[in-house]
């Protein structure tokens, strides 16, 4: 909708809106928040990787012990 008027637009109930639209502004902030929320997710995934690696090394170690001693390892 386009308007032409001889009187100021604000007098006709047509406010001067900011250059950046309201949806655009909120979308920008929303994207920022969500992008930084990726940090804890990546951190969690990395920790899972580290723990998984440690656990596998631990199992290998127990297997070696079992072969050497013939005793069932205890956790």
């Amino acid at each position: 909708m386009l308007y032409l008027s001889a009187v100021p637009f604000k007098n006709l109930g047509l406010p001067e809106l900011p250059e950046e639209s309201i949806p655009q502004k909120y979308l920008k902030w929303q994207k920022r928040v969500y992008s930084y929320l990726a940090v804890p997710a990546v951190l969690y995934a990395s920790m899972v990787g580290v723990i998984h690696g440690n656990w596998r090394a631990h199992l290998d170690h127990m297997k070696e012990d079992e072969e050497k001693t013939g005793l069932r390892p205890q956790l």
Partner: protein
């Protein structure tokens, strides 16, 4: 044990640092994308209306034609006879208002209806996509099958255009949809068809913008700040 506490701490620290670095880099990259997003533009073939307040005589033909075309009950609450709505409401999608300053001069009529914004806040506010902006025509329309009646659109709209039908068992959101049924038949909206002074005209947005600029160039100083409201 092959892993000492020192090894475990070292791996954990390395993992943490790399994770934080990756996340931060990703975050910065994404925020960079958001910041570099261009301003939304109207579709090339967008339809619209041009309302010239200096031509409007306030006859309200458009209001009556709108109600008739959209099967809305005429709002005759003022005097029980004439269709005179004070404001947009559950049965009024389009209204002509009078601006009359205290000093008595420079009065003007104004047509109030959905602006079909380039970047509509009502569409952004609707959580179920009950309101949608057509990517080709640019018309903002309402879908009764998706609307849950939350009325967020009413709150989000900076012009306070969408109205809710508080009465009845199956309420709707009422707003101008540019007579989409008529457009589908190749007919222009009812309000532009009946306007006796061509104060409101229908067409492609680009053409209307050119027409508005032509009028401004033809009569410098006639229009407020020699500019078109709704262009940006």
């Amino acid at each position: 044990m092959g892993i000492t506490r020192r090894d475990a701490l070292r791996r954990l620290t390395t993992g943490t640092v790399s994770a934080v670095a990756t996340g931060a880099a990703g975050g910065l990259a994404l925020s960079g994308v958001a910041a570099s997003e261009e301003k939304p533009q109207a579709p090339a073939e967008a339809l619209g209306m041009l309302y010239d307040a200096t031509r409007c005589v306030g006859c309200q033909s458009c209001v009556a034609a709108c109600a008739k075309a959209n099967n809305l009950a005429p709002d005759i609450r003022v005097n029980g006879l004439h269709q005179i709505a004070y404001d947009l409401n559950a049965t009024t999608k389009n209204i002509i208002k009078l601006y009359k300053p205290a000093d008595g001069k420079s009065y003007s009529y104004v047509k109030q209806q959905c602006m079909h914004c380039v970047d509509p806040a009502c569409v952004a506010g609707c959580m179920f996509k009950g309101l949608k902006k057509d990517p080709q025509t640019g018309v903002v329309s309402w879908n009764s099958k998706l609307c849950v009646g939350c009325r967020y659109c009413e709150i989000a709209c900076p012009y306070h255009i969408p109205k809710f039908q508080w009465e009845g068992f199956n309420p709707k959101i009422v707003k101008c949809e540019l007579c989409k049924e008529r457009l589908a038949k190749g007919v222009q909206p009812a309000c532009t068809e009946v306007c006796p002074k061509n104060a409101v005209i229908f067409g492609k947005r680009q053409e209307l913008l050119a027409e508005a600029n032509r009028r401004i160039a033809e009569s410098p100083g006639k229009y407020f700040e020699d500019r078109v409201y709704g262009e940006h």
